[in-house]
Amino acid sequence: MNGTVVKNKEICAGHFLLSVKLPESFKTPMPGQFVMTRETGRIDPLLGRPFGVYHFEKSENEATVKILYKVVGKGTLLLSRLREGDFVEVLGPYGRAFDVYPEAGRVVFICGGIGVAPITYLASHYRRLTGARNVKLVCYYGANKAENLVGIEKIKDICSEVFISTDDGSAGFHGLITARFSEDISSYDPGSSKIYACGPRSMLKQLSELLAENSVSCQILMEERMACGVGACLGCTVLLNDVEGIGAHARACTDGPVFNIRDIRWG
């Protein structure tokens, strides 16, 4: 659908919050779903970029989607130059959403870097679902340095406990967020805890190793290069565990982006 840029603000070096106004008919994304975004009329870069939804709201006449993103290449660099009033195409929402458990005792979110964006949308959803019951929402959030902990205020607002780590020690635990999480892992009871994670592939791989001896449920978001976003082109292949041949190939855009951490072949 055609959207208009409302705001495209640099939060800290290389990290932006893009706000796009869309028609009211745009379907409300479920947590975990993504949108394909591209500047209207451009053929270079050709492909839309997939972003997890950070925030979404609807009023009588319009909808607003917010994307929290980091500049990592050509597409995001050009996106960062969009100004209020520019036109963007937003396709979606696409993809399989997170399974959500309103009856969970404790919900744990683990974010690495810009992975905080879709996790925040999920955490807000949980807060709305479980607000009355006061379920414990816990967040582990790691970044390479303190100023890159974008969106930390919003996460602190939603979750009752937030643990931070930075690679350079400028804030919180000095080291990787998986190392910080591993200190607490035994306190999470598989019977009542649910884990959700989003971040660099290396972080997710480490997390899968940490959870290998543990049966606690863990859903993750897998990111792959995408072209169509709807499951037609078979470009965004994710390799699955314990299966061979054609069954081992899943589509990040349609079979995911949400996957059970144990289903992924990390290689």
């Binding site: 053929i43 050709l46 290069r225 499951g231 037609a232 082109c233 078979l234 041949g245 054609i246």
Partner: protein, 312 residues
């Protein structure tokens, strides 16, 4: 001409389709993936993802890489095989009143023959598009479509086994595509479609590894349009059978270029990824153009290219 809609029907080799706009193999899945986003009944035809005799897992990821105004793909022809296609994918497609042309490929001539027979027996596809851009494993991996004799042989063997219109899809990765076009016409092809993707590659300079696990892949998108258009123009002049144009078509203007140089119809591929409604916009745009030029029938436009014409 105001209230009369131009006639958009074209004959693509014994199959008459309601308009000259089709979706290209490999870019539209089996119809179901895109059905929520556009009215697929408006399409001239849908060409399925390539179908092989046995299921194929395809290549390891990464399978795609963006390039300037285009993209490389090395999907590896992943598909569930002809039996699963007939059982699981065809029924959905049949729910829509849109012609289904099954794209077929094989590693040996025997594969092509078996798949042709099985699909023809279903009586549920309206045509076959034969992908000869794959290697002949029995002849050391030479691409079927790169050798005029092999291209002729595949065409002849497939035609023997089916009454369905047979479209041969050509690879541009050859020295002279017109030779191949003439060969397949000689073999009995009802139509020719071109071009398939151009072989290319991309390198990750930081890690000094290929961006695609397969190293090379097929280039598609707006970047290849000039090459595709040139090849279509050349082939149209050499064969009598209908030619279907493929390659970088993103909007109605692009489609019109191909029709003007003589393509009977076009296929839209990569553009679907950018704009799921690209085909709808193209159909509307062709109609508008015809009205604007007071043409009552799209066939009045096809092949009206004036090679010698000057721009001013």
């Amino acid at each position: 001409m105001e209230n009369v809609r131009p006639e958009m029907q074209v004959d693509i080799g014994g199959l008459i389709i309601k308009n000259p706009v089709m979706t290209a193999s490999g870019t539209f899945g089996y119809g179901k993936e895109y059905a929520p986003y556009l009215d697929i009944r408006r399409l001239g035809a849908i060409i399925t993802k390539g179908i092989s005799l046995e299921p194929r897992a395809g290549n390891k990821p990464p399978r795609i890489m963006e390039t300037p105004c285009g993209m490389l793909n090395a999907i590896g022809l992943e598909n569930p095989g002809v039996h699963a296609f007939i059982k699981e994918k065809l029924p959905f497609l049949r729910e829509f009143d849109v012609p289904v042309i099954a794209n077929v490929f094989g590693e040996t001539i025997d594969d092509f023959k078996k798949v042709t027979e099985l699909l023809s027996e279903t009586k549920e596809v309206e045509g076959l598009e034969i992908n000869i851009s794959c290697p002949n494993v029995k002849k050391g991996g030479i691409i079927f479509g790169s050798d005029p004799d092999m291209a002729y042989a595949v065409t002849k063997e497939v035609k023997r086994l089916t009454d369905l219109p047979v479209i041969i899809k050509l690879t541009p990765n050859v020295t002279d595509i017109c030779l191949i076009a003439e060969s397949v016409e000689g073999g009995g092809a009802d139509a020719i479609s071109l071009i398939n993707t151009l072989t290319g590659m991309s390198v990750d300079i930081e890690q000094r590894i290929p961006h695609l696990a397969n190293v090379t892949g097929g280039l598609s998108g707006p970047a290849i349009k000039p090459i595709a258009l040139r090849m279509v123009w050349q082939v149209v002049k050499r064969v009598k059978i209908p030619v279907i144009g493929i390659g970088g078509i993103a909007n109605a203007g692009d489609a019109l270029e191909f029709l003007i140089v003589g393509a009977r119809a076009v296929q839209v591929g990569t553009a679907n990824f950018i704009n799921p409604c690209a085909t709808m916009d193209i159909i509307d745009g062709i109609e508008k153009y015809l009205k604007r030029h007071n043409m009552a029938d799209v066939n009045d436009l096809i092949g009206t290219f004036d090679e010698e014409g000057k721009t001013c």
